[in-house]
């Protein structure tokens, strides 16, 4: 086994354990911290796949940004509700059933249609440069549409947050 394989399995184990802990831990704040660990682990997997840019963005946006916002939301809402929010669900059996079904579906699809195992050749050594160039040339329309979507979301957030007249 090479170091890369060992790292992959270690990261995967960490990812699975922390993902389970996210949904199973009764304390909402602990769940968020497990989520932070899971997102960091995902960044590690991206690193193993030579996607440095994606890994850094994953850390910056998800492990840094999203977690911050989730934590903020928890604290603010706990203040409003005035009691600790638990995140256990009485219908855990049904949830597990749906999740297993979804997992089966994904595994089945992958079984019938294996992913390409050949590494796609890159035009240059600098992957970040490739990403930037393709986003602003070939995929410029979806990119701008996403920007528009963000603008709409931002405007609606401001609309909801404005003081009542």
């Amino acid at each position: 086994m090479t170091g890369e394989v060992i790292a992959f399995w270690a990261l995967s184990a960490m990812l699975v354990v922390s993902a389970f802990a996210v949904v199973l831990s009764p304390n909402l704040f602990h769940a968020v911290l497990w989520l932070a660990l899971a997102l960091t682990g995902t960044a590690g997997i991206f690193l193993l796949l030579d996607a440095e840019f994606l890994a850094a963005v994953q850390l910056l946006l998800y492990a840094g940004g999203i977690i911050t916002i989730v934590v903020f939301a928890i604290v603010v809402t706990e203040r409003l509700v005035g009691e600790r929010i638990t995140q256990t669900n009485r219908r855990i059996g049904a949830a597990a059933g749906v999740s297993l079904l979804l997992l089966g579906l994904i595994v089945n699809t992958l079984w019938n249609q294996p992913l390409a195992t050949v590494k796609a050749s890159m035009s240059s050594a600098d992957l970040t440069k490739d990403v930037g160039e393709s986003v602003l040339t070939r995929f410029v329309l979806p990119f701008e549409l996403l920007a528009l979507l963000m603008l709409v979301a931002m405007l609606s957030a401001i609309y909801f947050a404005r003081p009542e007249e």
Partner: protein, 332 residues
């Protein structure tokens, strides 16, 4: 030096050296700050331990190591105990990608600056764990303020850092440093854009490091010591270490982005010394601001970020992009 070691040993030795240098430097940076602050206020500062107080940081460290470690009964134990480590790791990791001289660094990544910013934004997780895990109202309030502030100042910080990136045309830190070779090419001397970006970067750095005038999260008169109020002994030392390491790292980044990193007169081997001097200059600038200004209110901090700094850096970024395109398409 790299050729003398067997290949497998280098990934272990290089981080070991860097970590120890960083810890040593951070220890003495605290003395520097205390001396500097004292001089600004016509005091002498630490003087009794060693020659001119030179052994003071060591005495401080020894004292902290021997202090009793107290865990509040109401604390969320695992989170409370893990928080200093989670806080410290990102603060140390930022040094991984800094090149201290051409080819002298742990890992000169292609995405250097992005790595630096991404990892240093992870610091907030540890900070919040400390604030929440302590189960103390001051700590929690402080952590909430920190979250507020960091969400607001992350964007101006990144935008200001992107100006040198665009001028150099690379995210790699060593490329940015090389692009500034020769005194007049330092990005801080770039007409108009350079100075404005430097100013915005310093302000955003102050906010990102929670230094005065942005230190509402440890406003002593309201929140005692902020998120670290329940920590004592070595755990407190770890948090302080992380905070100062982050500050030193940010000073190095500012020196690299705007002050030409290792560029300076004299032979090439003097490069790291120049880099260190510039980083200390930035650090002293930050300290100078700390001891000269008063704390501003929460709403003022947020207004400054969203209404001034964010639009300003955005416009600056657009101007830089236009300039770069114009320059590469045959301008000057």
């Amino acid at each position: 030096m790299a050729e003398m070691l067997p290949g497998w040993l280098l990934p272990i030795v290089a981080p070991f050296i860097v970590l120890n240098v960083v810890v040593g430097m951070v220890t003495y940076v605290t003395l520097l700050e205390r001396k500097f602050a004292a001089r600004m206020q016509s005091r002498i500062g630490p003087y009794r331990v060693g020659y001119h107080g030179l052994l003071q940081p060591i005495a401080d460290a020894l004292k902290l190591m021997m202090k009793e470690d107290i865990v509040p009964t109401a604390a969320d134990r695992p989170i409370y105990n893990l928080a200093p480590i989670v806080f410290l790791i990102p603060c140390m990791l930022i040094f991984a990608t800094l090149p201290f001289a051409p080819g002298l660094g742990v890992a000169d990544l292609n995405i250097g600056i992005l790595f630096f910013i991404a990892v240093s934004s992870m610091e907030i997780v540890g900070l919040f764990m400390a604030g929440w895990g302590s189960n103390n109202k001051y700590a929690l309030l402080s952590a909430m303020r920190a979250v507020n502030q960091i969400i607001s100042y992350d964007l101006p910080y990144i935008f200001a850092a992107l100006v040198p990136v665009m001028l150099a045309g690379s995210l790699k830190l060593s490329d940015i440093a090389v692009a500034q070779e020769g005194f007049i090419h330092w990005f801080v001397f770039y007409p108009v854009i350079g100075q404005l970006a430097f100013l915005a970067f310093i302000v955003a750095t102050l906010a990102a490091e929670n230094r005065v005038p942005f230190d509402i999260l440890e406003a002593e008169s309201e929140l005692v010591a902020g998120f670290r109020v329940e920590y004592s002994g070595m755990k407190f030392a770890l948090i302080q270490l992380g905070e100062y390491a982050h500050m030193v790292g940010s000073s190095f980044l500012a020196a690299l982005l705007f002050l030409g990193a290792w560029d300076g007169p004299g032979p090439e081997w003097l490069g790291p010394a120049w880099f260190l001097l510039k980083a200390i200059f930035i650090f002293l600038l930050v300290t100078w601001i700390r001891w000269s200004f008063v704390r501003i209110r929460v709403d003022q901090i947020l207004a400054l970020s969203w209404k001034v700094l964010l639009p300003a850096t955005l416009v600056l970024l657009i101007c830089t992009a236009t300039l770069v395109v114009w320059r590469t398409s045959g301008g000057i």
